[in-house]
């Protein structure tokens, strides 16, 4: 099945050989048969699908030579001590720490929450204990934005992840935190977080994607959010993979009647990172808030593709993706608002703002609309420019040095996104991560 590896040609499957898949399958043999069947089918798709080509519109502007799948391996287990796991300083309702595709530490939810029916467990446990519930939602939304091959690889090699289930009417005061580590040379990880919120439930879930070392890691993850009638979900992802890493992350959000979902992605790490986000507004009153902040430095490349699909009348979505570009970094934002023929009274907004902080950086914007209903309010905007000279002058005139003024203005630029989080400790934790990116510890 795998193609012969040639030093000249890029192999479409790279390190991901049939032997590797067979070994993985053996390690999850205790899981339900339907899941193993799906993994086998996904593996076939992964091997059959080609790597992205230059003519693929969904990969326009991306550096395709950076997508080689060679040099990776399914990494051995590590201990929490080896990870140097750093706490986040936020009070949480529960924590799960995964490293190299295995659970290495956990702080379970309180007995009280468990009694109310809240589930916060590993995906493997959920597959064994809540099979039908998982089956209904696990990877239920097919990818549509170009990463079909990598999504298939994720399904095939997904070992474990976080499963969150919020029963009807339950509200969590504190966030649930999930950590996904990659450790060791060439470590390939497949993070997964699945959140299901039943009617009127409310919670915040945070994913942290981290590298334990500076090695070249491979991450191919997925986070799916399902918000039922009137549910309110806040999802935050903080991505700080190592600067040598290649990452593919794909999100699917489904919002049912009157549900509100806010997803904020902070992108800081990786050599080349692709993020796909797909929101479906399926019933009247559904709202999706799609936010992202990216700080691109060095020669990093961040490729973000978004899709807002309005499938029912009276739905709304709001997208705000902000990128700050330093050195010779490159960003790509490709967004699409789709309004289905029956989705009258849609209110959709899409905005991409690029702050150019270097003369060598490159920002690409592809803000798209496909509208098939006429009674709608759909707008988008994309801007790329440097720090406003007048604002800079104003601060300098008050004695603030230029470098400090620029930093203040840059954080001011981010604040428009961060202020949408109504959780102060989380807000501050994200700012701390951004500060580290701007001033890395020596």
């Amino acid at each position: 099945m795998s193609q012969p590896s040639s030093p000249l040609a890029t192999s479409a499957t790279g390190s991901f050989t049939p032997e590797l898949f067979a070994a993985h399958l053996a390690s999850v043999a205790h899981l339900p048969a339907w899941w193993l069947d799906r993994k086998r089918a996904a593996w076939d798709r992964f091997t059959a699908l080609p790597l992205p080509k230059r003519t693929d519109e969904s990969w326009r502007f991306a550096t395709l030579t950076g997508l080689k799948l060679d040099g990776y391996t399914l990494p051995p287990a590590v201990t929490p001590a080896e990870l140097g796991h750093a706490p986040i300083g936020i009070a949480t309702a529960g924590k799960l720490v995964f490293a190299n595709n295995r659970l290495v530490a956990a702080e379970p939810i309180s007995a009280e929450l468990a009694q109310q029916g809240v589930i916060f467990e590993t995906l493997q446990n959920a597959l064994l204990k809540h099979g039908d519930l998982v089956k209904a939602h696990l990877l239920a939304q097919p990818p549509k934005q170009g990463s079909e091959k990598f999504s298939a690889l994720h399904t095939a090699l997904l070992a474990d992840g976080a499963f969150v289930y919020l029963p009807k009417g339950v509200e969590l005061a504190l966030p649930l935190a999930v950590f996904h580590y990659a450790a060791g040379p060439g470590a390939a990880v497949f993070p997964h977080t699945l959140v299901i919120a039943e009617e009127g439930a409310k919670a915040t879930v945070v994913d942290f994607f981290r590298s334990a070392d500076a090695g070249a890691h491979f991450a191919c993850g997925r986070n799916d959010l399902y918000a039922s009638h009137s549910a309110q979900l806040t999802y935050v992802a903080a991505q700080t993979w190592s600067r040598e890493s290649l990452s593919f992350q794909s999100n699917s959000t489904v919002a049912r009647r009157d549900a509100r979902v806010l997803a904020l992605n902070l992108h800081l790490g990786g050599r080349q990172s692709r993020h796909e986000s797909h929101s479906q507004l399926q019933a009247p009153g559904a709202h999706s808030e799609m936010l992202a902040l990216t700080v691109a430095h060095g020669t990093q490349e961040f490729d973000q593709r978004t899709l807002q699909i309005h499938q029912a009348p009276h739905t709304s979505s709001n997208l705000l993706y902000k990128n700050a570009l330093l050195a010779s970094a490159k960003t790509i934002f490709s967004g699409l608002i789709v309004v289905d023929p029956d989705a009258q009274k849609t209110d959709a907004y899409q905005s991409n703002r690029n702050l150019m902080l270097s003369d060598d950086a490159e920002a690409n914007s592809l803000p798209g609309l496909e509208i098939q209903a006429n009674d709608v309010r759909c707008t988008h905007g994309a801007t790329s420019s440097r720090i406003d000279a007048e604002q800079e002058f104003y601060l300098q005139a008050r004695g603030i040095p230029k470098a400090d003024a620029d930093e203040l203005l840059t954080f001011g630029f981010f604040e428009e996104v961060l202020s949408k989080l109504d959780h102060a400790p989380l807000h501050d934790a994200l700012i701390d991560l951004i500060k580290i990116k701007f001033n890395p510890p020596v």
Partner: protein
């Protein structure tokens, strides 16, 4: 949801799911075709023989034949751009198209010399008698050859060359050869290659240094034979400090099988020159209108495309400006109206290649019935340029609940010394406005028409007076029966 098994199935891309419902459209309205005798006819289908035939009939220099043959090879080699464009392109049957027809007459110099047949065509096109006189500077293209060509005395006295492509390449190669095929290389895309292989007609214009042409130069184009594609070639060179306005209006008879129009228009504005190129396109609902238009603006030069697309089955046209010299300026003003069975896939390209260059794109589209309008644009500001600015605005108006509009811009900016802004909006006609006008005695149709005209008014005002009148008339016509 529980029965979902094939989670990563290769779903079709989201775009292009709507078929063009061109069949079933009433194609009798505006049916004005009549029999023509053609002296030269290259027959249907495209081969090296066709290309050689065209070149022989035109008595072309050997280098032009070589150019055509090389282009033909490129045309065969290039794929259809359906990985991003609509699948409707696959419905073009290149073997059923006539690539060259000519009534064999030499381009005419005076109105009296124009054959009655062709005068009849102008009449059927609805150009009033007094306007025909006004169109004194018209280079009117009748099928492949310019059937009527009257250069105003005043223009030629200024040293302006205004001829068709055959004449231009034959009589003035020292001027035109240098720029011919340089702004739009043959292999730019499949259709520019096709045009380069079989082009005929079009206008070649040279405006000498410092000459400001007071009146717009005009050309009317027309397709008048079934399955006959028109492949005109236009090249306008404005020398240093020169200024010229060129206008083209297209109307075509309606036919039951598809026709293809694939033009190439190249503009060169040398230092400090200004070129304005105005198009009103109203092809019949069965015409594929696939046009490549691009200009190069040198230092402090200005190129402005005013592009209005009302007709055709599928139009794909993205006028571009390469801003090659410091302080060059490019502008595209675009109006598109898509009715049932039509897809207006239009936009603009702005390639900044020098410091302090500025560009502006304003696009407005109206989708009526099942019409689909698409804005597609490229703004590119490469490395190490400074002081470049682009502003893009796209507004779409949707008239009926099943109308469709898409926006696909692509913006690349490198470096911190440039700025780009892009905005787009989609809306419908305000119910309040319609109500207000109905209160004052207008019918719903009249109110709608007025409202739509208001939507494009700020752009329509930039057209020459007679074009904006024609535009208003066309919009009134298109809005008929779109309400109620």
């Amino acid at each position: 949801m529980s029965d979902v098994t094939d989670t990563e199935s290769l779903s079709a891309p989201i775009a292009d799911t709507v078929d063009n419902p061109v069949s079933g459209i009433d194609q009798t309205a505006g049916n004005f075709s009549y029999k023509m005798d053609y002296e030269f006819d290259a027959g249907t289908g495209l081969s090296e023989k066709t290309v050689r035939y065209i070149s022989t009939v035109k008595k072309e220099a050997p280098w032009i034949l070589d150019f055509r043959l090389a282009a033909l090879k490129q045309f065969y080699a290039k794929p259809m751009p359906t990985h991003w464009a609509t699948k409707d392109l696959e419905n073009i049957n290149f073997d059923k198209i006539r690539y060259y027809l000519s009534s064999g007459q030499k381009p005419k110099r005076t109105w009296d010399e124009v054959p009655d047949d062709i005068k009849k065509t102008f009449e059927r096109l609805g150009i009033p008698e007094h306007e025909r006189k006004f169109l004194a500077g018209v280079e009117a293209q009748f099928d492949s050859e310019a059937a009527y060509s009257n250069i105003k005395d005043i223009v030629s006295k200024q040293g302006v060359i205004f001829v068709n492509s055959t004449e231009g390449l034959r009589e003035h190669p020292e001027i035109f050869r240098k720029f011919f095929g340089k702004v739009i290389p043959t292999g730019d895309n499949k259709f520019s290659a096709l045009n380069s292989a079989v082009f005929s007609g079009g206008s070649f214009i040279y405006v000498p240094k410092g000459v400001k042409v007071a009146q717009p130069l005009q050309a009317y184009f027309r397709i008048n034979a079934e399955n006959f594609g028109q492949f005109e070639r236009t090249l306008i060179i404005a020398d240093e400090g020169a200024e010229v306005v060129y206008m083209e209006g297209c109307t075509a008879p309606k036919f039951s099988t598809s026709t293809l129009h694939s033009a190439v228009v190249e503009l060169v504005a040398l230092k400090g020159a200004k070129i304005q190129y105005i198009t009103v396109q109203n092809w019949a609902n069965n015409v594929f209108n696939l046009v490549t238009k691009r200009g190069v603006a040198h230092e402090e030069a200005e190129i402005k495309w005013i592009d209005c697309n009302i007709g055709s089955r599928l139009t794909m046209k993205y006028p571009g400006v390469i801003l090659k010299g410091r302080k060059a300026r490019g502008e595209v003003i675009s109006i598109a109206l898509a009715n049932d069975g039509q897809h207006q896939d239009t936009g603009a390209k702005m390639i900044h290649a020098a410091d302090e260059t500025t560009s502006n794109i304003v696009a407005k589209s109206i989708s009526v019935g099942q019409g689909r309008s698409t804005y597609r644009g490229v703004v590119h500001i490469p490395k190490h340029l400074k002081g470049c600015k682009n502003n893009t605005e796209c507004d779409a108006l949707l008239i009926n609940s099943n109308s469709r509009t898409d926006t696909y811009p692509a913006i690349t900016v490198r470096g911190e010394r440039n700025s780009v802004q892009h905005e787009a909006s989609v809306s419908k006609v305000s119910e309040e406005q319609i109500f207000y006008m109905q209160q004052r005695g207008l019918t719903e149709g009249q109110a709608m028409s007025l409202s739509v005209n208001g939507f494009i008014n700020d752009l329509a005002r930039q057209f020459p007076m007679e074009y904006s009148v024609e535009l208003k008339r066309l919009i009134d016509l298109e809005m008929e029966g779109s309400v109620g």
